[in-house]
Amino acid sequence: MPGPSRSSDPGRAFFIALPLPVEAAAPAVRRPGYLAMPSTFAFRILRTLGMFVLSLFVLLALTFVIGRIMPHDPVGLIVGELADAQAFAAMRAKLGLDLPIPQQFWIYLQGILHGDFGNAVLTGTPVLQDLAQAFPATLELATLAILLSAGIGVPVGLLAALYRDSIVDQVVRVLSLLGHSLPVFWFAILGLIVFYGQLQWSPGPGRIDAFYEGIVPTRTGLLLVDSLLAGDSEVFWNAFGHLIMPAIILAYTSMAYIVRMTRSFALEQLGQDYILTARAKGLRLRRVVVRHILPNIAVQLITILAISYGGLLEGAVLIEIVFSWPGIGQYMTNALLIGDMNAVVACTLLIGIVFMALNFLADLAYVALDPRTRSGE
């Protein structure tokens, strides 16, 4: 119940308590590890790390549950409906389904730590191998998309803040709300209908024309990088042509968020006295933006961009199927449709881990780069 609760922020409690030996004794005895911590800064980093590990654990537990509540009985799928009870029991034992749940979870964890996600029903190969093949395609798509949405979104957000309530601001507001409201898979179909079907400006679905497939050796799995490494500009431009429309479409949906957040961060700074001072001493607006506003909102922007990047990996799931893009999204969708839970769980884990790792890095950047957190305020 409500009352003084210093324990909710042990780091703070410790440092407040440090000069007072009587109070310091309590947390120090209970958690001796804190004594070794040199500063709040390190503590915050460790706490962020702890939170990340905890989230990972919960994600693993969730995917374990998801894998266990599958609609079809995996034993029945393997031995067939007509098998006798003995065959059923034998297969259950072989799959480890007769063990206590905690033990099953432990085995599941061990498998994942060893990179063993089981075999995919569709391809028959280990899921990890499939993922390793599909992930670079998604990564390439999401990376170009984040570059586009950051490269356009941040300046546009700054503009909207500088010309607040002007017509520019209103147009930006509507456009970004529109991007926020678009079903991305539908927008992708629309893009294909217009730019591929009607105008024929864009190549069709797929990652590269069939003619160029397999020409450059796979090194990174990222076609743009591989073709550059092989010095084959023709393949590069073909792959780039295929990549650009899905990337723009994906970028637009996350740009909405980036624009809105940049705008509100910049507005916050514009209201501060130091900006007034800078303007009063005659600094040009552009210089104020570049020298004062941007450095001050950089940390917040990094956080937003990391979150958006994770969101793009997720958004890719929905548009890959439209563009026949051979990435994680398409792989996962196909697995969903045939109820291949090994593959579904592995995809969820992979996207989840990348997503959370990006969040974690953003938090870390926040702690590391923001002088206010460093001074332990």
């Binding site: 119940m1 409500p2 009352g3 003084p4 609760s5 324990s7 909710s8 922020d9 703070r12 939170m51 905890l54 989230s55 919960v58 969730l62 995917t63 998801i66 509540i69 599958m70 609609p71 507001r173 509507v174 709300l177 529109l178 926020h180 409201s181 678009l182 079903p183 991305v184 898979f185 539908w186 927008f187 179909i189 629309l190 294909l192 209908i193 591929y196 079907g197 507005l267 994770g310 990996l313 997720e314 958004g315 799931v317 929905l318 199927i321 439209v322 996962m332 969708t333 969903l336 449709l337 839970m341 579904v344 769980v345 995809c347 969820t348 996207i351 989840g352 997503f355 959370m356 969040n359």
Partner: protein
């Protein structure tokens, strides 16, 4: 969570007059975009209620002699690959959309509110545990998680609703907690406590009602993305099943014919976009009106 968890003395926040919300809500009339959003939503709600009267054709009856007709006088939005009238399917589809968002709102609204208010009111370890859990769920990729939940539970509208709800309550909980932290230090709460009001009474009668307006605003904004997630699940075949006229599923079936009969895939998308945009416009405006701190 660096928020102040100590019970400081009461602050001078008096309970607003009951009429203040009405007064603030009426300001929406001066906001053309927000008003447009509200009107569009009212229109769609009316269409959902009056679907049997408004729909010119039966949404599931196939007319194989009339497949893939372009939009025209007989079929305003054209017909699909089975000769069904797309407009009628869209009209019936509003019911599915509204059922989805209302159910999700009824699940995540109270759930987020209760978790947030209890967390903010109790403080201490309860707060730490609840908010850590909220943060963890918040850090998950919600769409992918909803996808795999829906896949595990079996495709269908019900599981889609559960899957979406499971991943979308944390933002509501965070907001309710933040509101509670302010409200619980108000003078009227301190007065009620002095009179001997129990914790439950304080939570449910004194604090929770104060959090409801901002929770509703956040719900409005959340609905925009709920619609998109639901449509995404339907598009991937994990939402409402055929022949039900779910908008996302309609786009999915139209995708195969997109180059020959664009309207099959395009029309449902316009409906999704319109409703989602309306929720965003309304939510955005409400937030500006009700929360003066959030300068637009």
């Amino acid at each position: 969570m660096t928020a102040d968890n100590t019970m400081a003395g009461p602050i001078a926040v008096s309970q607003p007059e009951p009429g203040i919300w009405r007064e603030r809500l009426l300001r929406i009339v001066d906001e053309p975009l927000g008003l447009a959003g509200l009107l569009v939503l009212c229109l769609f709600a009316t269409v959902a209620v009056l679907a049997p009267i408004l729909a010119p054709y039966d949404p599931t009856v196939q007319d194989l002699g009339n497949i893939m007709q372009a939009p025209g006088a007989a079929h305003w939005a054209g017909t699909d690959e089975l000769g069904r009238d797309i407009l009628s399917r869209l009209i019936w589809g509003t019911r599915i959309t509204f059922r989805t968002i209302l159910t999700v709102a009824l699940i995540i609204g109270p759930l987020g509110l209760v978790i947030g208010v209890i967390s903010g009111y109790c403080g201490g370890k309860v707060d730490t545990v609840l908010m850590r859990f909220t943060d963890i769920v918040l850090s998950f990729p919600s769409l992918v998680l909803a996808l795999s939940f829906a896949a595990a539970l079996g495709a269908g509208l019900g599981t889609a609703i559960i899957a979406i709800s499971l991943t979308s309550w944390p933002s509501i909980a965070r907001l309710a907690r933040a509101e509670t932290l302010t409200v619980r230090r108000a003078e009227y709460v301190a007065a009620a406590r002095l009179y001997g009001a129990s914790h439950l009474r304080l939570i449910f009668l004194y604090i929770m009602p104060m959090c409801i307006p901002s929770v509703i605003v956040r719900l409005t904004l959340a609905m925009a993305s709920v619609i998109l997630t639901a449509a995404g699940l339907g598009f991937l075949g994990l939402g409402a099943q055929p022949p039900s006229p779910e908008w996302g599923a309609m786009i999915s079936s139209g995708r195969k014919y997109m180059l020959d009969a664009w309207w099959i895939a395009v029309m449902p998308g316009i409906a999704i976009l319109t409703v989602s945009l309306a929720f965003n416009l309304l939510g955005d405006t409400l937030r500006d009106i009700l929360d003066p701190r959030h300068a637009r």
